[in-house]
């Protein structure tokens, strides 16, 4: 096999913890290895103009980063986190913020482009909550009918678990980069 240069979609995962005063007390950045088959299925449905009930013309939407406490190594067929932490203020829960995406930055000097996709999780449970895994969902729905399907596309096991004390905020950032 001849090599043209390299594969050109990279994903980085940044995790950051702030205390109740907004001070960053923990930050790590990993090179993610995280796309699972749901990403292929979603892209496939988009590529083939998949028909859903009531119409076709598929669109990608509903980004949803999730966190969990499972410690099982991700596999290609994963359809969700091993043990997702629920949204709320009960014991073992975290309050889920909104997903936020930044406009892509194009760098013509090094032929790269990237955008970030992030979400914050606040611990209002009254006790510690440990986060060990991160993942993300998207939907592919018909523009015409709104019907469609949900796909689990990313799953990362954190190299080091993070214990969030009460009132601390965890921010998860996926940076999706392409280089040409």
């Amino acid at each position: 096999m001849e090599r043209m240069r390299k594969a050109n979609i990279d994903v980085y995962l940044t995790v950051m913890v702030k205390d109740k005063n907004g001070k960053v007390v923990y930050r790590r950045r990993y090179k993610s290895r995280s796309f699972v088959v749901g990403f292929l299925n979603a892209l496939y449905d988009d590529f083939i103009n998949a028909t859903f009930s009531g119409g076709n013309l598929p669109e990608l939407n509903a980004p949803n980063i999730v966190v969990g406490s499972g410690t099982t190594k991700p596999s290609i067929t994963d359809g969700g986190l091993t043990s997702q932490i629920g949204n709320g203020t009960g014991a073992g829960q975290l309050q889920y913020g909104a997903d936020s995406l930044t406009t892509p930055i194009i760098n013509t000097n090094n032929n790269s482009a990237s955008f970030t996709w992030s979400k914050s999780f606040t611990n209002g449970s009254g006790g510690n909550v440990t986060v060990a895994e991160v993942g993300a969902y998207v939907n592919i729905t018909s523009t015409e009918s709104g019907s469609g399907a949900t796909y689990f596309i990313l799953h990362d096991l954190l190299p080091s678990q993070i214990t969030l004390a009460n009132t601390q905020v965890l921010t998860v950032v996926y940076t999706i980069t392409i280089t040409t």
Binding site: M1, E2, R3, M4, R5, K6, A7, N8, I9, D10, V11, K31, S32, R33, S34, F35, V36, V37, F39, L40, N41, L43, Y44, D46, F47, I48, N49, L57, P58, E59, L60, N61, P63, P74, S75, I76, T77, D78, D99, L101, T103, P104, I106, N107, T108, N111, S112, A113, S114, F115, W117, V138, T143, E144, H155, I176, I178, T179, T180
Partner: protein, 191 residues
């Protein structure tokens, strides 16, 4: 890094014999692809560049459709004769070889997209996008670049054609008259 694209190229002569085969690791996604995914996910409208070089606003309803029919060179896999190195802001091939049987043209087959295949032993998955181009122009044609163009759809969407992958071949391919060229993009993930 766990999304890879491979480009497979095969030339078949008039007797059905394979006379050329190469498989390359692609370096190929360009900015339009990233912008479209961003717009879809964020619900924000931003500018993209169509294959004519014109700027347009991506609707977050835009699709990424590539399964074009035969005898059409608007979207799907396209081939060209340009030799410029791809850049992140490319909006089309440098020199598209158009559909037809005239001098310098090739007949575009329909685009085929196979269902994803998953291998749990290796934690990998892939699907392929393929198209065959037949040379009935009366003389040889040299192909030096390949790209994948998507269609946004034409309902609530922008109704635009936009480049998402662009590869310059390490070695140009000469396709004799009467032969066909098959191109496949294999998009892989590994967990």
């Amino acid at each position: 890094m766990n999304v890879k694209a491979y480009l497979k190229i095969k030339v078949i002569d008039g007797n059905g014999k394979c006379t050329y085969y190469r498989r390359y690791r692609s370096r190929s996604f360009v900015a339009n692809f990233l912008r479209t995914i961003f717009s879809n996910l964020s619900g924000q409208e931003i500018n993209n560049v169509n294959t004519s070089g014109g700027s347009y606003t991506i609707s977050y309803h835009d699709s990424i459709i590539v399964n074009d029919g035969s005898n059409d060179d608007h979207f799907g896999i396209l081939i060209g004769s340009g030799t410029s190195a791809p850049t992140i802001i490319d909006s089309n091939l440098s020199q598209v070889i158009s559909n037809g049987t005239s001098v310098g043209q090739m007949q575009y087959g329909a685009v085929s997209v196979t269902s994803p295949v998953t291998n749990t032993s290796t934690n990998t998955g892939y699907f392929t996008v393929s198209r065959t181009f037949t040379n009935n122009s009366g003389s040889s044609i040299t192909v030096s670049e390949v790209g994948l163009v998507a269609w946004s759809g034409n309902n609530f969407q922008s109704n635009q054609y936009y480049l998402i992958i662009h590869d310059l071949l390490p070695s140009p391919i000469t396709v004799p008259n009467g032969s066909s060229l098959s191109i496949s993009y294999e998009i892989q993930v590994a967990t």
